[in-house]
Amino acid sequence: MSLNAKNRMLHRAAKEIAPGMIVNLGIGLPTRVANFLPKDFPVCLHSENGIAGIGPVAEDGAEDRNLIDAGGAYVTPVNGTSYFDSAVSFAIVRSGRLDLTMLGAFQVSAVGDLANWMIPGFFTPGAGGAIELAQKAHEVAVITTHTDKKGRPKIVQECSLPLTAKRCVSRIFTDLAVIDVTKEGLQLIEIAEGVTVEDIVKATDADLNLPVGEIPVF
């Protein structure tokens, strides 16, 4: 995936965040969505390790050794930030206070099942907070490359990997497309600049409903 394609995907995903939302951005690519929000955008970013109200990443030399996000980045507080213990942090998650979480994925199925924490035999580090985020945020969006490093589709009819949570994903942002999970199945809603519908169908291992008429480009 080119830098341009990645940035375009993150820029598009950032538009999913509405003013006033409480949002958890998963470790990795999802965290970087915050870089594409307008400065002073009114959003409360939550992290599992006990912070609501994450500001910009700290500048070199100005880090607070006690203030990180769940990915280990040294962050800064903003006006209105709060700190709390891990039980309170997941009370926020499980009681439905998160409007949106954006997570990475190994696989997403046609009904929105998510597998993102384990590849048996290869990658078994434990789920961290992913299960609760996927199961309890009001909206779960996935941000991922459309295919894995070997070119295999990540959007599949049924997940073959152990699930993080069932039927949780509502929207998928990839370097090629934006796809919604609907009751009628997967619906292509936008395509990336320079990409064709045929490219997307070929890179997707699930039934994909195509829009009627012109498809918006991001």
Binding site: I51, D85, F90, P125, G129, E132
Partner: protein
């Protein structure tokens, strides 16, 4: 009325831990990990420990010292992905690893500290995480029974403590510390700053002293507590 002074020498506090003990450790990554207490535990060499901690730290830090010295028989945790040694020892069967979703681990510890036997949750239903767990019906909804998680000892890192053991944590160094402080039979807190009782305002206290058995004052702040350069 006056409060007792719980300050104890590092060596004496850790010497209470026997072989085979279960030990909870605070910390999420570096912040809140009681590195000085762990270092003393490595120096004294208690064996066959069950370590309960959110994560396994990283190579060359905290839990990794205990793994390297072969003192750990079991790890109860939510994520060990940043510690290749922990993954390798798990795959080789050298340690047993029990995983829990992070908030479930926190809540199991919290309810133990609250004197409750367990709780019912829908987290993990329909996934492999539900395997082996007891299903319970509450008001017609099916959930999983999660038992409380206690330990023999809790090792806590505080930024401030008074001599009675009222603790204050700093920013995201709070994480699991206040939870484990409540959930162990014996809680030892290391503190960066020790104050006379009365110098921490009652409204400012994060962990009340009745949960804390001994307070160890750190003589310095070793480099391992500092900012990790990546």
């Amino acid at each position: 009325m006056a409060m007792i002074d719980k300050t104890t020498a590092m060596r004496d506090a850790i010497a209470r831990i026997p072989d085979g003990a279960s030990v909870m450790l605070g910390g999420f990554g570096v912040p809140g990990t009681p590195f000085c207490l762990i270092e003393e535990l490595v120096r004294q060499g208690q064996k066959g420990l069950t370590i309960i901690k959110n994560d396994a730290n990283e190579t060359g830090m905290g839990v990794d010292w205990l793994l390297e010295s072969g003192q750990v028989s079991k790890l109860v945790t939510s994520h060990i992905g940043l510690n290749p040694r922990a993954v390798k020892m798990m795959n080789a069967g050298e340690i047993e690893v029990e995983f829990a979703p992070q908030g479930i681990l926190a809540e199991r510890i919290r309810v133990a500290g609250a004197g409750v036997m367990g709780f019912v949750t829908d987290i993990g239903i329909g996934t492999d995480m539900a395997k082996g767990k007891v299903e319970v019906s509450v008001d017609g909804n099916v959930g999983l029974l999660e038992p409380a998680l206690r330990a023999d000892f809790a090792l806590v890192h505080a930024s401030k403590s008074d001599t009675f053991g009222n603790l204050v944590f700093s920013a995201t160094a709070r994480n699991f510390n206040p939870l484990i402080a409540m959930a162990a039979d014996f809680t030892i807190a290391e503190t960066e700053t020790l104050l006379p009782a009365g110098e921490i305002l009652p409204d400012e206290v994060h962990t009340p002293a009745p949960f804390v058995d001994q307070v160890v004052v750190m003589s310095s702040l070793p480099e391992v507590y500092g900012v990790v350069k990546r």
